[in-house]
């Protein structure tokens, strides 16, 4: 049987980190319309840290995310406008508002070992009639068997597929395969994968996930995303075409869209710079990158030292506030 892979575009969500949450209605309209024309089935849009993420800690959104959702919803005819929700940051009230703005799917994300905080939100999303995804972050921090148990919890709350995120871009292809396989064996719903390119392995890891049985893969135009970015969607479309896997995507269309609509708004090249490499090496949440650069500048420190310390302290996604604490303490120690 020919394998079908659904590609989830998260340029307007994970990519939001890379532009410091500065997307405008015009930008999201052009990108969402283009993605829809290229047959992308799920188009994710929200603050990089999910609904309600606009804050001192994660960066304030230039434009209200609900206005951006409304603008994107107008453009999407075939795909599903999708939002990210992290319990503890966003609430069910935020989800209802997003639904009113036209969101048709939601991915409810928790740290890999904390799936039970998502029960309330997954149940609420199903009641709203939204396609509901359970999303486990920082999967490098737990063994495959542990992840399988957490995935089963999300399935029991009503998740329709489980997405595994390598949020730190730390995993090697064999680690990805082991995680996808373990979860696939444990649940009766599809499994997806979300890569970060901090060790230049986003495409390789996405392929490893597909080979291990994943049927949803996250990607972004030009790889726009936190840290060194995500799996580059136009590259993935080409690679999967070469592999004989059907994604239904318009390969040329995605290339053109990346060049015309995303490249002009990029604030920095989406490469593996030293900070990104350290994220992947030390196992630190990719969204920390620009905040670490800010703190390093403020305290005149080497950003790599801050990353190593954050990795040592096993900081999880959402603890961006601790970057300042760690930098302050390193500075005190240095005298």
């Amino acid at each position: 049987m020919e394998q079908q892979i659904q590609i989830v575009d998260t340029t307007l969500r994970d990519g939001s980190h890379a532009v410091r949450h500065s997307f405008t209605e015009e930008q999201v309209s052009a990108i969402a319309a283009g993605l829809d024309r290229c047959h992308v089935p799920l188009i994710e849009l929200s603050h990089g840290d999910g609904l309600g993420g606009s804050s001192y800690t994660y960066g304030f959104s230039k434009r209200d995310e609900f206005l951006l959702l409304k603008a994107a919803a107008k453009q999407i005819k075939n795909g599903k406008l999708t939002v990210l929700l992290l319990p503890g940051i966003g609430t069910i009230e935020d989800l209802k508002k997003a639904h009113d703005c036209g969101a048709k799917a939601v991915r409810v994300a928790t740290h890999v070992t904390e799936a039970d905080v998502s029960a309330q939100h997954i149940e609420a999303a199903r009641k709203l009639g939204m396609m509901t995804v359970g999303f486990l972050m920082m999967t490098h921090m737990a063994e495959p068997e542990v992840i399988a148990e957490e995935a089963k919890k999300m399935e029991s709350y009503g998740a329709e597929y489980i997405n595994l995120a390598d949020s730190a871009g730390f995993l090697l292809p064999e680690d990805v395969a082991a995680r996808v396989k373990a979860v696939k064996e444990a649940v009766s719903i599809p499994v997806g994968f979300h890569a970060h390119n901090n060790l230049n392995l986003a495409i390789a890891n996405s392929l490893a996930a597909v080979e291990a049985g994943a049927s949803y893969i996250d990607a972004t135009l030009r790889g726009l995303g936190a840290g060194a970015g995500n799996t580059q969607i136009e590259v993935l479309a080409g690679v999967l075409k070469r592999k004989g896997i059907n994604t239904g995507l318009d390969f040329y269309g995605l290339m053109d869209l990346a060049e015309r609509s995303v490249e002009p708004l990029m604030q920095r090249p989406q490469t593996v710079d030293n900070g990104s490499l350290m994220l992947g090496y030390a196992g630190v949440y990719s969204s920390f990158l620009l905040h670490v650069y800010d703190a390093a500048k403020k305290y005149d420190l080497d950003p790599r030292d801050i990353m190593i310390e954050l990795g040592k302290r096993r900081m999880v996604g959402g603890q961006e506030d601790m970057i300042l604490s760690v930098a302050y303490q390193l500075k005190q120690q240095a005298g």
């Binding site: 800690t57 503890g88 070992t113 999880v316």
Partner: protein, 293 residues
């Protein structure tokens, strides 16, 4: 010296920790532990010589000599059943659930104004840790926006917290505004599973209104508040002293628990219980002065 008799409903982690704190209190006497099943918590209280019941609140309201009742059950139980029964029985309710039937109480900020209330709500652990700092800044320079991030160890987040993340963020936000004095509040909670467990750590970021107030004056107000906090939460400390960046002031606090029943890293559970005890002691103190005990 005379003591005021109190009861605890809900013999879980919070209820058991409260019991040990009551043992140390100078004017509260642990007169009953109430549950609805023969649980570990009930057995523990009995083994310590405390009268117990598995009839729940029904038995508590029949005890005429019990004046103050700590409710460590659930928001639904407090709102739908317990608050009404306690009021009818003329007992003071200290509500540790997010029900918020009565006004929010953060002892270092507004206890004095609430001492005549018959039902007071203890907000959330994150609220008890951060609202005093917001208030310290709001009372000197005004606060347009206050944002707090509470990081707690996974091991100290029980099933109640996990099933109700929104109750934490929404209740804390409201109390940052109504008690802390910020025009707008925002609350975020993060669970961290690191081993050994992390101490409860809270970052508070505020946009001040009056930038002509010097950072030294703001700092002094915060230091004074930390001293006030230490009186009832000994493990409360500044991890990062106030930092100013333009109109933004950032403070990081850490709370080490007293290790009464719960381990020391559970500063989140310790602080809400310590606040509840501080409120009850104030109310009991007034009762004893009036000779009402």
């Amino acid at each position: 010296m005379d003591k005021i008799k109190v009861a605890v409903i809900g013999p879980g982690n919070i209820g058991s920790d409260l019991m040990y704190k009551i043992f140390r209190s100078r004017n509260l006497e642990m007169a009953m532990m109430a549950g609805i099943v023969e649980s570990e918590g009930i057995k523990r209280a009995r083994s310590l010589g405390i009268p117990v019941t598995t009839e729940g609140i029904a038995c508590v309201v029949r005890q005429k000599d019990i004046k103050i009742v700590f409710d460590a059950t659930s928001a639904a139980a407090h709102a739908n059943t317990n608050s009404g029964l306690l009021k009818e029985a003329g007992k003071i309710a200290i509500d540790l659930t997010p029900a918020a039937v009565g006004p929010y109480c953060v002892p270092s900020v507004n206890l004095e104004q609430l001492k005549h209330e018959t039902n007071i709500n203890m907000v959330t652990c994150g609220g008890q840790a951060t609202i005093p700092i917001v208030h310290a800044v709001a009372s000197t320079a005004g606060v347009a926006y206050a944002e707090i991030i509470a990081a707690i160890s996974s091991k100290s987040a029980g099933p109640g917290t996990r099933a109700n993340m929104d109750e934490f963020t929404e209740t804390t936000k409201k109390a940052i505004e109504t008690v802390g004095g910020a025009d707008e509040g925002k609350a975020i909670i993060v669970l961290n599973p690191a081993v050994p467990p992390i101490m409860m750590t809270d970052t508070i970021m505020m946009r001040v209104k009056d930038t002509s107030v010097t950072i030294d004056k703001i700092r002094q107000s915060i230091y004074d508040m930390v001293e006030k906090m230490k009186q009832y939460v000994p493990g409360y400390q500044l991890l990062v002293p106030p930092i100013q960046q333009g109109d933004k002031v950032t403070v990081v606090v850490q709370i080490e628990g007293q290790g009464d029943f719960l381990p020391k890293y559970s500063g989140n559970l310790d602080i809400i219980n310590a606040a509840a005890i501080a409120a009850a002691e104030k109310i009991a103190g007034d009762m004893l002065m009036k000779g009402g005990g």
